[in-house]
Symmetry: C2
DNA sequence: AAAAATATTGAACACCGTTCAAAATGTCAA
DNA sequence: TTGACATTTTGAACGGTGTTCAATATTTTT
């Protein structure tokens, strides 16, 4: 009958409401200021009631993580405009780095925070992450087809490329680039990426 | 007179006692379980008294971070045995990755946790970090002298190289390599690093 | 021995995630 | 409509966290 349907709908709406509140708090005050109690406050429910909709805080963070990936993926696929596979890969990295700098809290949730890692146990449980990774792999396959990365395994290069840009962004977000004057930070980060990729731009 | 001297010595000893307790808790229970109250408990003082010796928790973490770097640096310089600069660089990366995997809590404190980043504002305030980075730069300079990384800036390649290995370790520690079966994780990580570095092994 | 300086305490403040008995609300058959 | 049952929501309680600060205890100096 319709009652169960409505209940299900209500439950879904409540979940959305909770996640919306969580997103707003994370955006306005920063991810590290997010708490169950603040969400409850915002939606005018008691803290305990959140647990009727989510198992725990980690599950909420996992949902935020999925949401962030949605936004991230949309930014990533913009590089498809570029025809040359190698230059596309270069822009791929640049877009990645820019996203991290411009959306520190989203980046945090996607790649740094522990919580989602506990939910993610295998590739099937991380479709959002896989989708973005597969898109990178595609780009690198195109590079291999064009004669680059001779003798290298597709997976290896993909993981290395991802690690390179993640390393740049996460060291930046954790203020570990103390050797670089603040005003030059972002150009130097992009320069480092360029240097690496330029050194890989050779056939055979 | 000797009284002030003894007091200074006592204060230093107390600081060491606090840090020793902090290190033990972090080692035994994990860094995320470390707290002021636990330290106070261990040394049989009240929580408040810790604040007579350290400004706050961040200052304690900063000291732990310095300590971790000491251990890390000692591991790093072992690569000096290798004569060929490029193969030395390869081992440099391998040792870095291994250290991260084998000492997750130390790695966390050195490169992932926010706290030290707030103390680190410039290169002079991060001598421990700089020492290790300079050692990497030296190795890369040797590679450049040997004809590798043609047309690239020393600093850029160094930052990129560091970012690459940090990316690998930190994605691993945060369980973001869900696409890799657990049993293969470590060899695949090393393989990814090898792929990248092999693609950079060419002169001119 | 008294006074001044210093060190230490621990309760208090403002938070946190999570649990759970109890109260409130909603559903449904009689 | 009423009473029984099911569901939802509450909010206090538990065990944590970092930090502050008036009060107490100890040490040093006079």
């Amino acid at each position: 009958m319709g009652i169960q349907d409505r209940k299900d709908r209500d439950k879904e709406e409540m979940k959305k409401l909770i996640l919306q509140a969580a997103k707003e708090i994370s955006l306005e005050e920063g991810f590290d200021k997010l708490s169950i109690r603040k969400i409850a406050d915002k939606i005018e429910y008691s803290p305990g009631s959140i647990y009727s909709y989510f198992k725990n805080m980690d599950e909420i963070i996992f949902e935020l993580h999925n949401d962030a990936f949605e936004k991230f993926y949309k930014k990533q696929i913009q590089v498809n405009d570029i025809k040359d596979p190698f230059e596309k890969l270069r822009e791929h990295g640049k877009v990645y780095i820019r996203f991290g700098i411009e959306n520190p809290d989203l980046y945090e949730i996607m790649f740094i925070v522990k919580a989602p890692g506990n939910e993610i146990e295998s590739a099937n449980e991380w479709e959002k992450g896989m989708k973005t990774f597969d898109f990178l792999k595609q780009n690198i396959q195109e590079c291999i087809d064009a004669g680059y990365f001779k003798g290298s395994d597709l997976n290896s290069i993909s993981i290395a490329m991802w690690s390179l840009v993640h390393g740049i962004v996460s060291l930046y977000l954790r203020k570990r680039f103390a050797m670089i004057p603040k005003d030059y930070l972002i150009p130097v980060m992009n320069g480092a990426f360029d240097s690496m990729i330029n050194n890989m731009k050779h056939k055979g």
